[in-house]
Amino acid sequence: MSEATIQPTEHAAAPAPAAGHGHAPAPTGDVWGGGVRPYGAHSKKFGMWLFIVSDSITFAALLFAYSFVRMANLEWPTPFHAASILKSTTMTFVLLSSSLTMVLAVDRANKKQRDKASFWIMMTALGGLAFVVLHSWEWIELIHEWVQPAKAANGGVLPMMWGTFFAATGMHMLHVTAGVFYLVGLALQYKGGKFKPIDVEVAGLYWHFVDLVWMFVFPLIYLMSTKIE
């Protein structure tokens, strides 16, 4: 994105606040008449929010499907023993903390500190990577001790929760993995002088959203199915 395409929209906001008292941009009523910025936000930010709206409905559909299948079945497995919960709780802490480092990255970017912003974006990506590693480990153990494909081949029936569990967590994993690539790419290029603070902010929106989704996946799928001996 060149300077020329961004600058005009950046400055279009300038005439809006009347003497900086924080009133609506145009008291005459043509806020929505075009030519001004009724949202007072960068177009990229609004675009990312539109993506988040559609993505949140996708995740909601997956979680509602999971809840429906669980309601509609008389037996439901509770396979998540203490080691599993320990791992998923650690994953939650890692993801929440990576959100904090992303906030720090946006803060430094807005203060025009490119190196520091880049560093914090990298730390965020590292948190995402840790999440992916822990979750893969968790998946592999679950596949070994609970899903048991060999048994399924004999009995012909896969254990309950196979589909909904891997659909919901897999979709989330996909988002985290994509986010790690997004953040690493951004950090490297941002350090090299490319992009603007708004681009870091938009990446932050995506990352916080991935965090937010996990705040629903974790209790609904893990905590509601703990194995208590």
Partner: protein, 171 residues
């Protein structure tokens, strides 16, 4: 005698557990107080000024300290959630509590981390209500899922009947 020790052990475990949670919460509060500023924001939050209509635009100046507070609150709430999972609660009670906490966490993430608290009202109203309503509307399929529960109740009554008819033996 064994029972007494069991109760003592349970009490100690509960104490440690509660201590960890409240200790973490108290630690964070102390940190917040030390960092200053945060207090004002929490008061504003409690007063319901979540969507601050006076916020002029995206770049209202605000400190980093409130983000640390939010982070601490999110971690603490996660700990509470994990604790709840081990408390053998009724499934419905647990679902409602967990989802309630998750909604608070989501609101904190959207409001502070994702800056929604500092956006213009027009922006918030364009994005939030439609999304929330659409997601809540997905609820309408749930009545169909309840069929299995009615079925289970009938089956259990049948089993009780067959057990009594067979003279107390398990079918």
């Amino acid at each position: 005698m064994g029972m007494v020790w069991f109760v003592v052990l349970l009490a100690v475990l509960a104490g440690v557990w509660l201590g960890l949670i409240f200790g973490a919460a108290a630690g964070w509060c102390a940190l917040c107080a030390a960092l200053g500023r945060a207090n004002k924001d929490i008061v504003a939050f409690l007063r319901g000024e979540f969507l601050n209509p006076k916020a002029p635009a995206a770049h209202k100046e605000h400190g980093m300290s409130e983000n640390y507070v939010v982070w601490g609150a999110l971690l603490a709430m996660t700990l509470v959630e994990v604790g709840l999972a081990y408390m053998r609660l009724n499934l419905l009670v647990m679902l409602v509590t967990l989802m309630g906490l998750s909604l608070i966490k989501a609101a904190l993430i959207v409001g502070f981390f994702m800056h929604m608290k500092f956006e213009k009202k027009s922006f918030v109203l364009t994005i939030v209500p439609a999304t929330v309503i659409t997601i809540l509307l997905l609820d309408v399929v749930f009545p169909d899922g309840l069929r299995a529960y009615h079925f289970r109740e009938e089956r259990m009554q049948d089993e009780v009947k067959s057990v009594t008819e067979a003279g107390g033996e398990h079918p």
